[in-house]
């Protein structure tokens, strides 16, 4: 990596250092233009045997397995695995709700670090990565590239974001599904404060198109614990009506509602074969990310869900 890239604001050296020795291994094989460290599900020109299938007209004659034919007098075609790279599209929710911060780092800032870190990591593996930033509409789009220069573009895009309230997450997911030409990794980073059905319709669209979808839900610790005392005026970031209340009175209900929402999101993701990870913005980003990636390595054959600790 060139020294220029270390200037990128979001690529915190302390975060990337902890991720340096990890390999991002995709859960499923994504077809790629370049030969990399990832297996492709496209059988092609490779010396690594995959499996047999009955011969079909049009198959190359050279792939016929004559030895099997000699034993069984049936035609079987040999299929090979080809190593390839993959394309990843990071979708970053930059709507107003992401601006909430109980401490120094807002959810959006945390998500920016996260997105930048993921991009850097993917680029470091000679893979291709692109970034879409959206709120109620698409705010910025950096097409997938495999050069580190894209990080500068991504950083510029993130810096220029001026948040607006979002009305629907699924709209952006549908748009992304239509835009993606190849089967890709799609990483959605959002607080997911929207209708679950709406969200899942977008995610299901992406899955339907064969994309490998990962959902990273970023939440503030105050949103998770609701530790307010006294009388508070809550002003909605998504243009909701303000609420003056005594949080002590509603804390139990709030936590119950939040838990129901989170459980629903997690369960639906698992059901739709979407990887899900909940991230607490008060926790170390590097540690959370590395754990997620480790879990993906361990469980590469199935979807995962979890909460970062």
């Amino acid at each position: 990596m060139s020294s220029d890239h270390s200037k990128v604001e979001y690529l915190k050296p302390e975060i990337l250092k902890s991720l340096g020795n990890l390999e991002l291994i995709a859960k499923e094989i994504v077809a790629g233009q370049k030969v990399g460290a990832h297996r492709s599900n496209l059988k092609g020109f490779s010396s690594e045997f995959s499996h047999h299938r009955p011969y079909a007209p049009g198959d190359p004659i050279r792939d016929l397995d004559w030895r099997v034919f000699a034993r069984t007098e049936k035609y079987y075609t040999k299929l090979y695995e080809a190593e390839t790279n993959f394309e990843c599209q990071v979708l970053l929710d930059a709507s107003s709700s992401m601006n909430y911060a109980s401490g120094e780092v807002s959810k959006l800032e945390y998500s920016k670090y996260l997105a930048a870190s993921i991009c850097y990591l993917i680029l470091n593996q000679q893979d291709t990565v692109g970034l879409s930033v959206f709120d109620s509409r698409l705010r910025a789009h950096v097409p997938p590239k495999s050069t580190m220069g894209i990080l500068v573009e991504i950083e510029k895009s993130l810096r220029e974001i001026d948040s607006l309230p979002k009305d629907s997450l699924s709209k952006q997911l549908h748009d992304t599904a239509l835009q993606l030409k190849r089967r890709s990794f799609v990483i959605l980073i959002s607080d997911l404060f929207s209708d679950v059905d709406d969200l899942m319709s977008g995610l299901d669209h992406l899955k339907h198109d064969g994309h490998n979808v990962i959902v990273l839900q970023t939440l503030d610790p105050y949103e998770l614990d609701f530790p307010f005392k006294g009388t508070w005026r809550f002003e909605g970031l998504e243009s909701e009506e303000e609420l003056i209340t005594q949080p002590d009175r509603i804390r139990t209900d709030y936590l119950k509602n939040l838990d129901e929402h989170l459980t629903q999101v997690r369960d639906r993701c698992v059901r739709s074969n979407v990887d899900y990870l909940q991230l607490n913005t008060s926790h170390s980003l590097g540690l959370a990310l590395s754990r997620f990636l480790q879990s993906r390595t361990m469980e590469r054959m199935g979807p995962t869900s979890g909460i970062s600790s």
Partner: protein, 714 residues
């Protein structure tokens, strides 16, 4: 309304705290942007007005709770009749009960004593007392014994304690009663304080001391309601008020005359009063007093003959009456096997001295009573252990060794009589008689002074003769006989601080005979010698009388002198004992261990106070024989006549003291005294209720509003 601790009302200023907190927090909402609005229960929206009303309600409740707390700790009182609040309070009082436990309270009218009747009165007093009220209970006597001090009242416990109390064989020190009660009142913490004095109101104490008591009682009445509960009764009582040795020798096979004075303190004449004398509880003599008029005393002589040497417990008895405690009087006599007197003659030819000591016609020596006269130059070689008394007559001077010899002799309990002579070197005596800080002699000599008049007539004796075993016979002599003795010259002396002057010359008060105790013995000192140039004592019966009395007195021990209940008992050691504790056995058989104290080479064990009447036994060491000490009652308490009801007004006027003679009066006094109603408990309960309501409002009010289900994530 009044307050027991009004300054604690300042605590009410604490209501400023919730008010300040309210003002600081009033309508001051904290503000935050919030992303997860969809999960908040919008039904729990709070309106400013609702908050304000609720806060003000809570503020009022909190202020009231603090006010109640301030009222509780300042302990408010209201008069029973002056406030409607009095019906919510309770009568609370701190009670001090002073029960006269002097032995006059043992006087019986029939079967029941005054003390028992007083106990019944006390039971009536505490019947209306609320459990938990502070109570102090003390027995009055010479030493006031506090039985319960500022304790929370519990009926059963108190009655149990009351039943255990008995009267003590001691007099009442009335003067100290108001002061002691004032101390107890001051230390008591109660809404209103009541002092009950239950006593037989002996006339001799209360009437005679009324003037000085009035001020003290008035002072006491300022701090507490004072109620006098008299327990009076008849005052018929016979008492032996005196039992003392008069004449004779306390020696084996001799007789001594003791006089017994019986007083009739009653209204009726006592007829045929039988007086018996006992030695070691065996009656040896009995006399009859035909009649003792009311309020007068009769004296009778008992002749007690002693058969055995050693300490003898002697006592005089009259028949039991309503107060038996003063019907016996006790004394101890140490009976000697024989009495030997060494007369050291410094002038030569003082034969009249030995004659006077023998007191027998022609100076004939009696069996078991010897007088040995030696010239003073032979004194150093003489063994003093053979003698009981040494008479140093006109000895010019002595050496330091001789002083030490005499010092040890006297300390062991023997006697020394010192007379000056023509050759006496008084300066040398002053110097040699010194023993460190003390002196062998009771006075320092300051030279001869002429006391004769211009006509050559000597100065007579002063008629002011103190009471003392030695001088008592002179008191009974006629004035004419006393004035026959004339003194031309005496030694002027400077008496030591602990000496007693028994005889002195008339007018300018030159001491003639001085005495002081030295160790366990006594030293007598004449300031004039028995010579015609000095005085004419030898020509009068005075000199032999005095010498005889002195010998008798000196050959008795310290323990012979009876003590009164409340006095200390002292056991002196001649030399440093090899034990650190002495044992006194009380008449009831209790063993009391007392440490041996040493001071200026004197060693003694002192029992602080004799509590019982009878014979105590003092044991210096385990091996040493027990020495009896007689302890009698103070007969000042025998005059059991009570103050009449008519005299109460005069005695207790302007003191604020209420008299409750009858049970009804006592009941009325209690109700009248307990007029203040304590409200602290009422305010305490009210405060707790307010806190409870505040707590419920704090918790319950918001919950009632929180019913609408919240927006779900889906």
């Amino acid at each position: 309304m009044s307050f027991m601790s009004p300054f604690l009302l300042l605590g009410a200023a604490g209501i400023a705290l919730p008010i300040i907190a309210h003002i600081l927090n009033n309508h001051k909402f904290q503000h935050t942007d919030w992303a997860a609005m969809r999960f908040l229960n919008t039904a729990a929206k709070v309106k400013s007005r609702e908050i304000r009303i609720k806060d003000i309600l809570l503020l009022i409740l909190r202020c009231l709770a603090i006010l109640m707390l301030a009222l509780v700790i300042s302990r408010p009182l209201v008069d029973e009749e002056s406030s409607v609040l009095s019906s919510f309070g309770e009568r609370r009082a701190g009670v001090i009960i002073a029960l006269d436990a002097s032995y006059s309270m043992l006087h019986k009218d029939g079967a029941i004593s005054r003390f028992d009747r007083a106990k019944e009165k006390v039971k009536r007093m505490v019947a209306n007392l609320t459990p938990g009220d502070p109570i102090t209970f003390l027995l009055l006597g010479m030493e006031h014994r506090i039985v319960l001090r500022n304790r929370a009242f519990h009926s059963d416990t108190f009655l149990e304690v009351l039943e255990e109390q008995v009267a003590h064989p001691e007099a009442l020190d009335l003067d100290s009663v108001p002061r002691r009660l004032r101390e107890l009142v001051d230390e008591m913490d109660a809404p209103q304080k009541e002092v009950y004095i239950v006593t037989d109101v002996q006339e001799q104490d209360w009437k005679l001391g009324a003037s000085r008591l009035k001020y003290a009682l008035k002072d006491l009445g300022d701090s507490a309601k004072l109620v006098m509960v008299p327990v009076s009764g008849s005052h018929e009582n016979l008492s032996i008020t005196k039992f003392e040795f008069v004449s004779g020798v306390l020696r084996k096979d001799t007789s001594a005359r003791y006089s017994v004075t019986v007083n009739n303190f009653g209204n009726q004449p006592a007829v045929g009063v039988k007086v018996s004398g006992k030695i070691n509880n065996i009656t040896v003599d009995q006399q009859m007093i035909p009649r003792i008029a009311p309020g007068s005393a009769e004296t009778v002589s008992l002749f007690l003959s002693f058969q055995n040497p050693g300490p003898a417990r002697i006592s005089a008895h009259i028949q039991d009456d309503d107060l038996p405690l003063d019907n016996i009087r006790r004394a101890v006599a140490i009976i000697r096997d024989r009495v030997s007197i060494l007369c050291v003659d410094g002038d030569g030819g003082q034969t009249f001295l030995s004659s006077a000591l023998l007191a027998r016609e022609g100076g004939v020596e009696e069996k078991d009573y010897s007088v040995t006269t030696i010239p003073w130059v032979n004194f150093p070689a003489h063994d003093l252990s053979l003698y009981d008394v040494v008479v140093m007559a006109g000895v010019p001077t002595i050496t330091e060794d001789q002083t030490k010899k005499l010092d040890l002799f006297v300390r062991k309990g023997n006697g020394l009589v010192w007379l000056p002579g023509e050759k006496t070197k008084w300066k040398s005596w002053n110097e040699r008689a010194k023993l460190g800080e003390s002196s062998l002699l009771p006075a320092e000599l300051e030279g001869v002074i002429k006391t004769g008049g211009a006509m050559g007539v000597g100065r007579p004796l002063s008629l002011d003769i103190p009471e003392h075993s030695v001088s008592n016979p002179l008191r009974s002599l006629s004035e004419d006989l006393l004035s026959e003795a004339r003194f031309l010259k005496v030694y002027q002396v400077n008496p030591s601080p602990n000496s007693t002057t028994l005889l002195k010359l008339a007018g300018n008060a030159y001491p003639l005979l001085l005495e002081h105790s030295h160790g366990r013995g006594q030293v007598f000192m004449f300031t004039s010698l028995a010579g015609t140039e000095w005085n004419n004592m030898a020509l009068t019966p005075l000199f032999p009388m005095l010498l005889q009395q002195m010998v008798t007195y000196l050959t008795s021990r310290e323990f012979e002198k009876p003590r009164l209940v409340g006095n200390s008992l002292k056991l002196s050691y001649v030399e440093e004992p090899d034990v650190i504790e002495a044992v006194f056995e009380s008449p009831s058989g209790d063993s009391l261990t007392v440490p041996v104290h040493s001071h200026r080479n004197q060693h003694a064990a002192i029992l602080g106070q004799a509590d019982e009447v009878g014979f105590y036994l003092a044991m210096g060491t385990l091996q040493s024989p027990a020495l009896p000490i007689a302890v009698n009652v103070d007969t000042s308490e025998s005059m059991v006549k009570c103050l009449s009801a008519e005299s109460y007004d005069e005695t207790f006027s302007n003191t604020g003291v209420k008299i409750a003679s009858s049970d009804d009066e006592l009941e009325a006094s209690i109700m009248d005294s307990r007029s203040k109603i304590s409200l602290w408990k009422f305010f305490g309960i009210l405060g707790c209720l307010i806190m409870l309501i505040e707590g419920i409002l704090c918790c319950r009010l918001p919950k009632g509003k929180r019913e609408v289900p919240v927006t779900k994530g889906a």
